[in-house]
Assembly symmetry: C2
Homo-oligomer: 300 residues x 2
DNA sequence: TTAATGTCTTTTATCGTGAAAAAACAGTTT
DNA sequence: AAACTGTTTTTTCACGATAAAAGACATTAA
């Protein structure tokens, strides 16, 4: 097996959902843009839809024949990228404990264990290395640096520097900038979530990321924007891993975000500074408490 | 051809230089540590040295028979890593002009042009992407963002934030920290270089990097330390590219470094701040003047 | 009994290959 | 003519294979 057709499968599933809404599908190029894939993939999708009797396809005419059922969809797990599969698998091992700092990472073993080629694992590790959790020994193995207290502190230190700057830049944006409308929209979403926090608390994670990314974008600095990838990745797995008091934590965070948004809208730099600082401090605290007391570092 | 033996060749060359200094070589493991390679490679080196009559090798006895001549060395270009070759080639194209922002990068074409496999090019591009000069379109090609004025400004903005912090942390280090000795050594090297600036000005680049890395290490933050890789990479090629007033520029920079070192040693945060700021400002200026006026950005 | 050498095994670095997906080209329809 | 469909070419993605290099194990010398 050379390359999985997950792009096709994922796009196919998304296309199925489109079928509910219309009587006939748009042109091939239009569908390509809609689904974010090439026309080649669109045509494969259409071909299968015709085969399974979902649509009648003749040149421009693509008429919907029936509503898609549950079996028409490809299984979720077949729509993931190899990179996603490897990352998930790797992070599970990393967070599941037994991953001592200083431990060496074996490409071949990882590849075999996950059931993929070594090239994909190598490429993943190279991409992943920018998160600061692993390091390469020249001409030799990778070394795990570990998800330690030190890591969390270094990460949050930079995060705080960057976010304070971005927040200040955000507040200084002219009032006709479109970001204010984005902020209003996010504020409304926060209010909505706050009112339904008891049942929807687990949706905060995604809102959190969108909110902070909006702020970081105001820095107009690619290094600051890109650094948020590190934070997002860590928080993503952290949220999945640490479910203790999740509801309470998220409720507090929503409140902090609302105060932060309020401060931004006031454009008062002092207030922005204070609100931002308060939120970042509690975010750091949350992250730190989830990290087990570090064992003694190994001799390298 | 599957893998070049540049590790062996490079280590061989370095080992030849060792031959001048002694009558007999140390044990295999010791040599391995000295050269930074495995014993397997050491044995290949010894085998060849025996073959070419450089040494007599019998178990522990490795006696030098003759001084190595110029032809004993492997050609310099055969000792480079593939990664280095690709990087150089890529940077040449990037800096040689004709590399408009927005242009797409073709892995296959690059690989063919350099004469290497696509895997190596892919891995290079992934590693290189953290420098912020290129970006990947999902499931598709890479896009060149260009070595523009905006890039230089974003880079220097972060550099300045990080270095000011690191410098302050450095100055706060206890006097029994070994870094002060390192600083003294670097200061002496600066003085020496200053006195011979007319002929050795091109050696500044390397000294510059060592000096700044020493300071950044005081931050004890892997993200700050790692970020210096971006700066080092840019300055490395910048130094090679922009030879205008090289001597003058470096002479000024050496002076600034010496003032900066002086300030650090005084441990006076105000002085450190001022000296650091002055140097970073002129470094930014130097970088900016070397970038051609940016053309209008392309429509994406 | 420690530390070296000699030998064998495992892992990394790199390539060529082939399927998936994108992109380019050519011919049609409106 | 503009936008679409049909067809062909090119590029990306991922694999298995192989030489270089590292590492582990067994043996021998000091």
């Amino acid at each position: 097996m050379s390359k999985s057709n997950n792009v096709y499968k994922d796009a196919y599933n998304r296309c199925l959902r489109l079928l509910d809404e219309t009587r006939s599908l748009p042109s091939e190029p239009e569908l390509g843009i809609l689904l974010g894939v090439s026309r080649t993939t669109v045509r494969s999708i259409l071909a299968r839809m015709e085969e399974t009797g979902l649509i009648a396809w003749n040149k421009r005419a693509k008429t919907v024949l029936r509503e898609p059922g549950a079996d028409d969809f490809f299984p979720e797990e077949e729509t993931d990228t190899l990179a996603q599969i490897i990352e998930r698998s790797f992070m599970r091992r990393l967070l599941a404990g037994g991953a001592e700092a200083g431990m060496q990472i074996n490409e071949l073993e990882l590849a075999r264990e996950i059931g993929v080629g070594t090239t994909s694992v190598r490429e993943f590790l190279i991409r992943f290395s920018r998160f600061g959790l692993i390091e390469k020994r020249r001409n030799s193995h990778w070394v795990l640096k570990g998800f330690t207290r030190a890591f969390a502190l270094e990460l949050t230190e930079i995060r705080e520097i960057f976010e304070m700057r971005s927040a200040a830049a955000f507040a200084a944006l002219p009032s006709d900038s479109p970001v204010w409308a984005d902020l209003d929209r996010l504020e409304a979403e926060h209010h909505l979530l706050a009112s339904q926090i008891a049942t929807r608390f687990n949706e905060f994670s995604e809102l959190d990321e969108r909110f902070h990314r909006l702020i970081h974008r105001a820095s107009h600095n690619r290094f600051i924007v890109d650094f948020y990838d590190v934070i997002a990745m860590i928080f993503h797995y952290h949220y999945q891993w640490n479910k203790a008091q999740e509801r309470e934590r998220n409720e507090v965070a929503v409140g902090e975000h609302l105060a932060y948004i309020e401060a931004l809208k006031s454009r008062d730099l002092g207030k922005v500074d204070a609100a931002c600082r308060r939120h970042l401090k509690s975010a750091r605290q949350t992250l730190l408490t989830s990290i087990p007391e570090s064992r003694l570092p190994m001799k390298s």
